[in-house]
């Protein structure tokens, strides 16, 4: 025992000499140990969240990436049905799925329409939202009533609104065509003609997206100090000049955020397209996510590999977009 003690104290002394006034014993794991002993509570609090996130986000993500490198489909994945035990027989195929997606015209064609859809939806929604927010920022009679009315589309569950629109758009029995017929206009094939169908899905998405834009921008507008406008007015700035030089810069931080969010949401806006047209007529309104869904659930045999490939490509595209967007903003002196 005595020998042990002395050798320990010698080692300790050596350590102390080497590292000056350190109270540590010099062994690397003790730092961790100490941090654990002082912060164990924080670690314990964080652990469940970490585990849950790893399970519900990490696992599917990596599984998806893995599947996109195989030729998995409904026929060759493992399944056990009652007495039938069928083992997995799919194989690793490397980047074949990606080559196929990126060289064929289906992915690029769908991507083209997805971009048109995203840009059209986001720009129209933003302009409308900005206009309405400006209107509601003035003192007008019944302001709170209008505000409530304009937020309504947001309060209704998305699929309910979309189904309502589907009834409105019905070519023979829909309300829109009945109104048009009253004005002597021929029925419009809202969802049956490829061009009209594209117009229709964008219109519904704009209708659904305006409330969010409006509320966010209204909040931004209200944070712009009124003195700025007063001063500008004193200097004889016109309404347009005030809007350009005070309102827009004042809204920049809000609008950059909502545009980024709205772009990501619209790019992946599954319910509107799926419930309104199912990507039809033909494939005219199919965006990347609805097409990926179609691969995984609607065609048979279900093509899990191709679907995951498209999913990964969507993720990469959106990450690229966010990175570029952020860089552009940073150049303009914006930080978020």
């Amino acid at each position: 025992m005595a020998v042990d003690t002395s050798s320990q104290s010698v080692a300790k002394a050596a350590g102390d000499v080497a590292r000056g006034r350190s109270r540590g014993t010099g062994k690397p794991e003790t730092k961790l140990k100490r941090s654990l002993s002082t912060h164990w509570y924080a670690w314990a609090m964080v652990a469940p969240v970490t585990v849950v996130i790893a399970v519900i986000i990490g696992y599917p993500l990596f599984r998806g990436i893995y599947l996109s490198l195989t030729d998995a489909n409904e026929r060759n994945v493992a399944r056990s049905i009652g007495v039938n035990e069928i083992p997995a027989t799919y194989e690793f195929v490397g980047l074949d799925n990606y080559t196929e997606a990126l060289t064929g015209d289906q992915f690029l064609g769908t991507l083209g329409w997805t971009l048109v859809w995203t840009v059209a939806c986001v720009s129209v929604t933003f302009v409308l939202g900005l206009g309405l927010a400006n209107m509601l920022n003035r003192r007008i009679a019944g302001r709170s009533f209008y505000r409530m009315l304009l937020i309504l589309p947001w309060a209704v569950p998305g699929f309910v609104s979309v189904f309502a629109w589907r009834f409105l758009y019905n070519q023979d029995n829909g309300l829109l065509n009945k109104i048009l017929a009253g004005g002597g206009i021929d029925a419009v094939p809202w969802l049956n003609d490829p061009t009209w169908a594209k117009f229709s899905v964008i219109a519904v998405n704009v209708w659904l997206g305006v409330p969010f834009m409006m509320v966010a921008l209204l909040g931004g507008l209200q944070s712009i100090p009124g003195e700025l406008y007063e001063a500008a007015e004193m200097d004889g700035a016109s309404a347009w000049q005030r809007f350009r030089n005070i309102t827009l810069p004042g809204l920049r931080s809000v609008s950059t955020t909502v545009i980024l969010l709205s772009t990501i949401w619209t790019f992946n806006m599954f319910p509107v397209i799926f419930l309104l047209t199912r990507g039809g007529p033909g494939e005219a309104t199919q965006i990347l996510v609805t097409q990926a869904y179609k691969f995984a659930f609607e065609i048979s045999p279900r093509d899990f590999a191709q679907s995951s490939t498209w999913g990964v490509l969507i993720l990469v595209l959106l990450m690229l977009f966010a990175a570029v967007y952020r860089r552009v903003l940073r150049k303009q002196g914006e930080v978020w």
């Binding site: 069928i86 490829p194 007529p281 494939e283």
Partner: protein
């Protein structure tokens, strides 16, 4: 070592609870040991909601009169969703029904994926020889029988006799006649002649067969959808729509078609016996005699209607296999089929039922019987259930002018070639 003990304890606790779960389920099985069937049989029906489903629900629940210890859970799943829903449930191993009403084309596909229990030698196939040959064909896969045929059907023209009288026209027998009849109807009554579903490729089949085409030729392992006849058929339907002889829809086709026909807005539609009960419910057909049924118009190669129908199949993972077999037998028995034929005008799959009183005199059944005999059977390969998805996309594209008939047929053929490797 302590940790080791804890792990073992945990594992064994899990194992115990797992077997306990299994035990619970086991207590519910319809083992024949007691001589009496028990348990729950969940049945997914896909019949038309609002008309057919009521009758099927009642018949299904009457099963408990014979087997009081069995509970029948009737679930109506819309036909358009059932194939996917069943696959989701069957693959994940939870939520699948014990018995499913499987469309004929789905049956070999489900069997191939291992979702169905083989029925040979079970109670489900009683008097197997009584089944019509064409009806039984789709239930066989790899030498085993995976389903019992419940109903068989084909397609014909449904027409509104009142409108035909008003316009002074006869039922068209060929596509050319169809066009002139439609034109006369439009002139005289202002109504559209034919409603052609543009969102479901099944409605394209009689035109494809009429031109002498087919989806695939299973015997010679050849894809035929994009040959000359296939292209011609695409041109025919396209021409019907652009010439105004027919109207079409790319969304909600079934509802729009039924509404338009039931309200007398169109004079004709192509449909099968499954639509009869729903059609009778329409204001235009309160007098049932107003509904006329005729064979589909012939194309350049003759008349051709597809043979369809539904089977009852048992899920391989069912916990109550014996009760499910008995239920399948009951639902496809001669008595049940006779009742369904009388009440819903659906065609029985058993030869003996056709001679029963009430069935023999049924006008719709009487009309469709010879049609079914002549109807074109699809190839009963596992991929049969996969052939419509690519076709419907191209068919809709052709009808809405997004592609030409030639390109549409070619694209469908290419998709088939991808699906059926090493076919020509």
């Amino acid at each position: 070592m302590r940790r080791g003990i804890a792990a073992i304890a945990l594992v064994s606790a899990l194992a115990v609870s797992a077997t306990a779960c299994g035990g619970d389920d086991g207590g519910d099985t319809g083992k024949k040991s007691s001589g009496e069937l028990s348990g729950t049989v969940t049945w997914w029906d896909t019949s038309t909601v609002g008309s057919e489903d009521k009758v099927f629900k009642k018949i299904a629940e009457d099963f408990t009169k014979k087997h009081p210890k069995v509970t029948v859970k009737y679930v109506n799943v819309p036909f358009g969703e059932a194939q996917n829903k069943f696959k989701n449930a069957a693959q994940s191993g939870s939520g699948a029904p014990d018995v499913i009403r499987s469309e004929v084309a789905w049956t070999p596909e489900f069997a191939d994926l291992g979702y169905l229990a083989p029925l040979d030698g079970t109670a489900a196939l009683k008097d197997e020889d009584d089944f019509l040959k064409q009806a039984a064909a789709s239930t066989k896969y790899n030498g085993k029988t995976y389903a019992a045929p419940q109903v068989i059907d084909s397609m014909g023209i449904f027409y509104n006799k009142k409108i035909f009288k008003e316009a002074g026209v006869e039922v068209p027998k060929t596509i050319d006649e169809l066009k002139t009849v439609s034109a006369t109807i439009k002139d005289k009554t202002g109504k559209t002649g034919l409603y052609l579903r543009g969102d479901d490729a099944y409605w394209f089949l009689s035109f494809l067969y009429g031109e002498g085409g087919d989806l695939v030729d299973a015997k010679n392992k050849t894809i035929t959808v994009d040959n000359e006849s296939g292209v011609k058929a695409m041109k025919v339907v396209k021409d019907l729509v652009t010439s105004g002889a027919a109207k079409t829809d790319a969304t909600d086709g079934w509802n729009n078609m039924q509404t338009a026909f039931k309200e007398g807005k169109v004079a004709m539609m192509i449909n099968g016996p499954w639509a009869v009960a729903d059609t009778y419910a329409g204001p235009e057909f309160t007098d049932k005699a107003n509904l006329g049924v005729a064979p589909v118009p012939a194309g350049s190669a003759g008349q051709g209607a597809p043979q369809g129908g539904h089977n009852l199949a048992v899920y391989a993972g069912s916990k109550n296999l014996d009760a499910s077999y008995a239920f399948t037998e009951y639902m496809t028995s001669a008595e049940t089929q006779a009742q369904v034929a009388k009440e819903l005008n659906l065609l029985p799959t058993r030869t003996s039922v056709y001679s029963q009183p009430g069935v023999a005199s049924n006008e719709i059944v009487g009309f469709f019987r010879p049609v079914v005999d002549k109807a074109v059977e699809r190839p009963w390969i596992p991929e049969t259930g996969s052939l419509f998805a690519p076709l419907v996309t191209e068919y809709t594209k052709v009808l809405t002018g997004q592609t030409t008939p030639e390109k549409g047929a070619k694209a469908a053929g290419d998709a088939y070639r991808k699906l059926l490797k090493d076919w020509k």
